[in-house]
Symmetry: D2
Subunit: 462 residues, 4 copies
Amino acid sequence: MNLITQAGSEVTDTPADAASAEVSPVDASSTYIDLPLDERVSLLNAYQHIRAETEKLTDPLSAEDMQLQSMPDASPTKWHLAHTSWFFETFILQRYQPGYRLFDAEFHHLFNSYYNSLGQPFSRPQRGLLSRPDIDQVYDYRRHVDRAIEQLLTEGDCPAEIAALITLGGNHEQQHQELLLTDIQHAFSCNPLLPAYSDTQNDGEPLSETTALNWLRVPEDTYTVGGDGTAFQYGTDFQYDNEGPPHQQYLRECRVASRLITNREFLEFIQEGGYQEPRLWLSDGWAWVRSNNIHAPLYWQQREGEWYQFTLSGLHPLELDAPVSHVNFYEADAFASWAGMRLPTEFEWEVAAWLHRQPDTLADANMLEKRLYQATAECSGKPQFLGNLWEWTGSAYLPYPGFRASADAVGEYNGKFMCNQMVLRGGSCVTPASHIRISYRNFFYPHQAWQFTGIRLAGDPD
Amino acid sequence: MNLITQAGSEVTDTPADAASAEVSPVDASSTYIDLPLDERVSLLNAYQHIRAETEKLTDPLSAEDMQLQSMPDASPTKWHLAHTSWFFETFILQRYQPGYRLFDAEFHHLFNSYYNSLGQPFSRPQRGLLSRPDIDQVYDYRRHVDRAIEQLLTEGDCPAEIAALITLGGNHEQQHQELLLTDIQHAFSCNPLLPAYSDTQNDGEPLSETTALNWLRVPEDTYTVGGDGTAFQYGTDFQYDNEGPPHQQYLRECRVASRLITNREFLEFIQEGGYQEPRLWLSDGWAWVRSNNIHAPLYWQQREGEWYQFTLSGLHPLELDAPVSHVNFYEADAFASWAGMRLPTEFEWEVAAWLHRQPDTLADANMLEKRLYQATAECSGKPQFLGNLWEWTGSAYLPYPGFRASADAVGEYNGKFMCNQMVLRGGSCVTPASHIRISYRNFFYPHQAWQFTGIRLAGDPD
Amino acid sequence: MNLITQAGSEVTDTPADAASAEVSPVDASSTYIDLPLDERVSLLNAYQHIRAETEKLTDPLSAEDMQLQSMPDASPTKWHLAHTSWFFETFILQRYQPGYRLFDAEFHHLFNSYYNSLGQPFSRPQRGLLSRPDIDQVYDYRRHVDRAIEQLLTEGDCPAEIAALITLGGNHEQQHQELLLTDIQHAFSCNPLLPAYSDTQNDGEPLSETTALNWLRVPEDTYTVGGDGTAFQYGTDFQYDNEGPPHQQYLRECRVASRLITNREFLEFIQEGGYQEPRLWLSDGWAWVRSNNIHAPLYWQQREGEWYQFTLSGLHPLELDAPVSHVNFYEADAFASWAGMRLPTEFEWEVAAWLHRQPDTLADANMLEKRLYQATAECSGKPQFLGNLWEWTGSAYLPYPGFRASADAVGEYNGKFMCNQMVLRGGSCVTPASHIRISYRNFFYPHQAWQFTGIRLAGDPD
Amino acid sequence: MNLITQAGSEVTDTPADAASAEVSPVDASSTYIDLPLDERVSLLNAYQHIRAETEKLTDPLSAEDMQLQSMPDASPTKWHLAHTSWFFETFILQRYQPGYRLFDAEFHHLFNSYYNSLGQPFSRPQRGLLSRPDIDQVYDYRRHVDRAIEQLLTEGDCPAEIAALITLGGNHEQQHQELLLTDIQHAFSCNPLLPAYSDTQNDGEPLSETTALNWLRVPEDTYTVGGDGTAFQYGTDFQYDNEGPPHQQYLRECRVASRLITNREFLEFIQEGGYQEPRLWLSDGWAWVRSNNIHAPLYWQQREGEWYQFTLSGLHPLELDAPVSHVNFYEADAFASWAGMRLPTEFEWEVAAWLHRQPDTLADANMLEKRLYQATAECSGKPQFLGNLWEWTGSAYLPYPGFRASADAVGEYNGKFMCNQMVLRGGSCVTPASHIRISYRNFFYPHQAWQFTGIRLAGDPD
C-alpha cells in the first residue's frame, strides 16, 4: 500500500495565487468576477482527489482507532476528518454559498482547531472524548460539505476569489493527511500490543541512505530566497503566506551534507555516550533529556540488547541504513555538535536544495504523480532534499521581512505561531507529493519528535 | 428502559460464604470435595445472568463510546467488559480448569486493574488508548471465558472451593456494572453535545424524596455490627471480606434523618453562600473549593439563570424534589455543617437502617427481583436507606477489628484501599439490586463525586 | 544542650478547662467574674516560661536560618515566632485588653496561619519570602505582646474566661516549638553542607530501645477513652477539644508492643526488599513509593555502602538500637504487614499506655520538670509510651462522638482537619514535656515524615 | 542614591579582546608571555571597582533579604555575591595561581550556576535554602578571592592570557549586578508589605519619554553587523562571544521609533481590551494570558480604580510618561500588533541605534562615568537607544554566522542558550554603564518580564 498517492496534475494547473489570497468578507461593492469554467473543473478535480486521499488513509482503521488521542499535541483521526471539512464549511461555504445550511451548528465549536477569532475552540486535549458525533456522522458531514462545494463550483455564479480559498483548503487538508498518520502512529505506540497501521513493512518509512556522505558547497553570495512563484518554485504555484515575501539573504560560503544522518550514525552517537554528555546539548535540550530520562529516539526500543524501531508497519529491527527519524531539534542539534558540525540555516538549506536539485526529476511534469522519493531513488547517489524526512534547520520560525498575516480569520493560519518553534524543510515520506516544495516552511517546537523528522548536517568551509 | 434489571433468585440461593472465601493456590494435599450438582446449576445460572446484564448495559453505546476514558479515575466501557472477564480467567480458569487456554496472553497485562502481585498492571490513565483489542475481540474474549466457566461447572470434577470464587467474580462484575454507568456519564458530560445514555428521562436517576424529613432515633446501646450471615444480613449470604468480622460497637443515642437531602435543600445552601463560607468546610474541602473554583455539584449547570442537571438521560431542568446527587464528601460535610448537623458514622447508619428496615419489602423473597426503590416507593413515607444513592458517612474506610486480608492475590481486593477514603452506605439507583445490603461498605476519596452519591444527615439527641 | 527544657509546675496548677473553653465575643450581658490573683500569677509564670523556651530554641540560628522554608508543609522559624504572638494578640489582646494597640496592622494578615474566618491568610508556601519584618522586628513584636499580656494579668480587671485562652495560647506555642525544630531540620537537610542545629550528638534524638520486644496484653472490655480531666489524665488538666468528649469504646483483646521498632529492625525490612514488594503496601502507599522512588526513611543516606542518618546534630552513622524515626504512615503500615502484625488503633494505644504506665514516674510531681524519657530511662526495661517518638496508629483522625468545635474562630483549631489524616500518639523527644499526655491526639497526613514519628506494633491475641 | 555608579575609565582602557578570549587549560608547551605591568594595574583597578560596586548594591539589604529566592528564575543576593567569586576562583585562580587554596571545597558545587562540564550544579530552585554559608562567610569568600586576584596580578609571573579571563569575570559580575536588582525587586513584590529597596523615588527607574514618537528611517542596504572592536563598538573593546563574528546583513528599508512606548500608551492598549483580544497575540502568548489570567504588566496594581506600579523604591502611582517596563515578549508583540506595527529585528535595531547615536555623548570619554541616560537626558528630544530599558526585538537568540563557542567550560557561557529565547538590546537603567554597548545581545524567554524590559516599535516604510 502506498500511504499517500498523488494529487492529480490539476493541482499544478491551479492558478491560485496565495500571495494575493487575502480572504475578506464578501464585499458587495467590489467588482464581481466569475471563475472561468475550466478553472472550476480543475479546482473540483483537485478538491475531490484530496478528499478521497484523506479517506483512503482511514481504510486500515476501526472506529475505535479513529477515536484515539494519545497526547494534547495529537488529534484523533475522526477529528482530522471533521476539522478539514469544517475548514471548507467555515471559510468558503458559509460565505459564498447562498443559503448554505450548516450540517450541524455545534460542529462550528467542536471542530474549530485554533481560530480564536471564530469563538473559543473546544479544548484541544479533550478531542479524544468526542465519541459523538460518531464516525458515520462525520462521514455524512464530509459528504454534505463535498456536495456543497461541488454545487458551488458547478452551478450558477462562482466568484473568482474562492479559487484561492479552495486551494488553501486543499493544502490544509494535505497537512492533516500527514498529521493523521503521525498521530495514529503515536497512539499505536502507546498500546503494548504495538498494532501496525500497515501490513507492508517499510510502508510509510523513509528510504535508506546508502551513499557516502558528501559535502555540497554553497558559495558566498546574496540570494533571493522565499517563494514567489518564480524563484525556487517547484512545480506548483500555491504557497503559504509564510513562505514569502521573497527577499535577499546574504550567505557566507558553507557546505551542506549530501544526505541525511542514518540510524547507524546515530547509534554511534548513543554508544559514545551522547545522551550523557551535557556539553553536547543546548541548555533546554539537556533539561529535556534529564527530566524525561531520554536514552534514544522516540520510537526506538531495546529488547534483549537489540534495537528495534516502532513504525507504521509495526515493530521491526532497526534498519541501520535508514535515516534516523523521529528525533527532536535538541537531538538533532546535539548530534551535530557531537559530529563537530551544525545544522544548516533554513536559507542555507533552501539554496543548497535549489543548487543541487535533480533536473531529470523536475523535467517530468508527471513526477508529482509519484512519491518523490521513488523518483529520486532511480537517480541514486545524487543528493536528495525532498520527500524523505522533514529536516530540522537551525532557524527559528519567524516572519520573513515584509510578512503580514491576513486580517481575516484565515490570517490565524501561520503567523501566530511565529515564536518558540524551529523551521523544518523538505517534506517527508508521508507528505503528499504535491504538497512538497523547496520554499515550504514547516515548524515544530524543539522538543517534539512525533513527526517524520531527521538530521542533515552543515558546516563552514573546511 | 430499566438500566439494571434484577439478578435471578438463584443468586439469593447461592451458598457461597465469603467469610470463608480465602482463596489459596490449589493444595493437592487437602481433601478434595466436589461441588454438588444443584449448586453447580445455581452458580451457573447466576453467572450467566450477571454476564448478560453487563452486556445489556452496552446496548446504547457505540464502539467509540466504549473507548472513552474521561479521567484517570474512570475506565472505558470496553475495559470494564474485558477486565471482568480477566477476573474469572485469572482467579478461576487458570487455576481450576485443566488445560485452560488463555484467550490472549497479553490480556493478562492489559486488563489487570491493580493486582500488583500479578505483575505491573497497564497504566491506568492510558486505558482509553487501547483501541485494540477492538470491541468484537473483547466480546469474543467474554464468550471464550463464558464457555470455559460453563464447562468447568458442567463437565467432570469441580472442586467445591470455586463456588466462593465464582460468586466473588459475579459480585465484582456487578460493581463494574455500576462503574460502567458512572464512567460513561462522566465521559458524556465532557462532550459539549451532552449525549444521553438513555432516551427515557429519569431512567437511571434516584427517586424523589417527597416526604418531610423526620428524625429516626437510634437508642444508646452496644450493637453487633458488620455482616456475618446472621446479623444485619439482607437476603443473600455473600459479603465482602471488608464487611466483617462482626464486632461490638457502643453507640450513644443519636438521630438519623428519615430521607436524603433534596436538590431544593442543597440549592438553599448554595443561595446562602455555602460555597463561599470557609467556616462550613473541612480544611481540605475548602482547598478543593478554591483551587477548582467550585460553585455547585458536579453535574449542575446554570443557563440563563436556570439550573439544569446532566443525567444519564441528558440535560434536564433540576428536579427540586430529587435527592441531591453526585456530591463529594466535602460537600456533604459542608452541607451538614450549614444545617447544624453532621453525617452519621457508618455504624449509626447501619443500626438505623436495620431498625427502620421495611419488613414488608423484606418479607417477600421476590423483592430482589425488583428495583429496591420501587418496592419501597409503594410504602411511601417510610424511611428508605437502600438503593437510591450511596450515602456518605463520617467514617473513614478502615479495617474492622480482626480483619485480615487473604494472603492470596484476591487479598488485594479490598484491604489495600483502607486509607484516605470514606465509607458510603446503602447502594444507589444504578447498583444491581442483588448487590445491595445493609452491611455493604463502599468507599471513595473525599473529593470524588462522579458516583451516585448523596447526603443523609444525623445528629446528637435534641 | 537540652532542646526543650520544662515548663514550670505552675502549668500543672492551671485550672483551665478546655472542655468549657468555648471562646465567644465578650458578652456584656453575662455576669462578670474576675480572675483570682493566685491564678493570675500562676498563668503569668507559665506564659513567661513558655515564651522564653521558644526563644531559647532560636539560639543556634542565624537570621538567615530563621528565614528558611524548605517546603509548603514547613514554616520559617521567624514565622513561628511571629505567629505564636499573633495568636495571643488576636484571640486575647484584641478582645480583652481595653485600648490595645496592634503592633502592626499588617501582621494580622501576614501571620494568620489558617483562620479563614479572620480573613484570607497569607499564602502558606510563600512564608519564606517574608524577609520583612526582619527578625529584630519580630522580637519587638513578641516583647510588645508579652508586655500587654503581663499588663492584662496584673493591672485592673481581668475576666476569668481568659485563663482558658491564655492556656490554649501556651499550648499552641508549645506545638510550634516542636514544629520549629522539625522544620529547621528539614530545611538543613536540603543544604548539601548538612549543617547541625546542635553541637551535641544525640541532642534532640529519641532514646535507644535496648530491651527485647515484649507484648503487652490489653484485655477485652468496654473502656472509657478520651480526656476529661479525670480518666487518663496525665498531670495537667489542659486538653484540646479534640481529645474529648470521653466516651465508651469496646475493645477486643489485643496485644501491643512494649517498645518501638528500631533502626536495626527497619534495616532488615529494607534488606529483605520491603520497598520493592507491593503486597506489603497500602495502595496509596505503593503509589507514593513508586512516584517518589523511595528506598529508605526520609533522613537516611547511604554513603559507600554505609547507612547514615541526618539529625538535628548533623549526619551520623545510623544507630541501630535507636527507634526508627521520620517514617510516614505508609512505611509504618508496610513494616507492620511485613512483620505479620498491624498498627494499634488509637484506643488500643491509649488503653495500653494507661495500663502500663510507670507509677513511679507519675508519682513525682516534679517529673514534668524533666524530659520524660530521662525519667523513664531510669526505669529501663519497662514499657514506655510517652516522649520518645510520635507513634502512628491505625486510626483516622475523626471527631469523637459528641465532639463539637467552638463556633468561635478558635473553633478552627482542630476540627477542620478531621479528614485525610491519621492519629499519632505519645509525644516525641522534641515535644515539651508538659505538653505530653496519654489522651493527646496528634495528626498528620499519611505521606508526611518530617516529624519525629515512629512505629509501635500491635496484633490480635496469639 | 545612584544604584549603580560607574566603572572607572580604567575599564575602557582594558585591552582585553574577547574575540580571542578562548580559555584553554594551561598549556606548558605554549610560549609564555608575561602580562605587562601597566595592564596589570589597569586590570586590577577595574576588578576592584566592579567588586566594590557589587557590594555597594547590598547596602540596603539585610541578611534575610539576601536569602530570598522568589522563583526558580531568580537567585538570592547572597548567591550572586558568592557565584561571581566562584567564577574568578574556578576559571582563573584554580588554573593560574600556583598553590591556590580553595576557600571551601564544597562551594565548587554550591555556587556553580550551570556549568555542567564542571559537575552537576546545585539545584537552581533551591538556592534560597542555603542559609549556610551565612552572609559573613560569603563576604569572607569574596575577600579571599580578591586577595588572590590581587596577588596574581601584582606578584611574580602573570601570564598574558588571564587578562581576557579577568575582563570576562568582571563583565560576568556586572551582569549579576543587574540580576541582583531585578531579583530583589521580584522578591520584594511577593511581600504584601511591598518593601522598598531604595528610599528615593525614581531611583532605579527608567527616564520618562516626554517627546513625541517620531520614526527614524533605516535605508535599504547591506550592513556589517555584530561587534568586532571596530564597527559599532562603543567605548570599550570587550564583547561577548555571542556578539560576533561581524557579518553582512541585508536590510530592507524600514522605520524605527525614536523612543520607547510609554505607560500612557500601554494603558490605552489595556483600556481598549488588548488583553482580551486573541487576534493581537501570538498563539503561545494568548495561552500565557489565559492560563495566568493576565490583565496588566507584572508590577502594575489597581487599587480603587487607580493604577500603581511597584518599583525598586516601592509602590507609586503609575507615571504615565515613563516607558512601560517589565513587559514580556508576548506583551510587546501584542502591543505592536495593536498599534499596527511590529518589533524591530535585532539588526534593524542595531543599525538604527548606530545611525542615530548621540555624538556629543559619545565624544566625551568620561560619559561612561555617568548613567548613560543622564548623559542623554541633557540632549532631550534626541533618540536614545541605550540605558533606559532592554528592548525586545523580533529576533530569536541564535548564533551569528561563523559563531563557535569555546571548547572550554567557559564555552557554556552563551552558546548553549541559543534556543527558545528572544534577543533584547540596549541595556537598562540598572545596567552598569560600562556594560552597555550597541552590539550587546541580551536574551530571555518570551514569557519572562521581571527584567527592565520595554517596547520600541518598528515598521515597514509608509
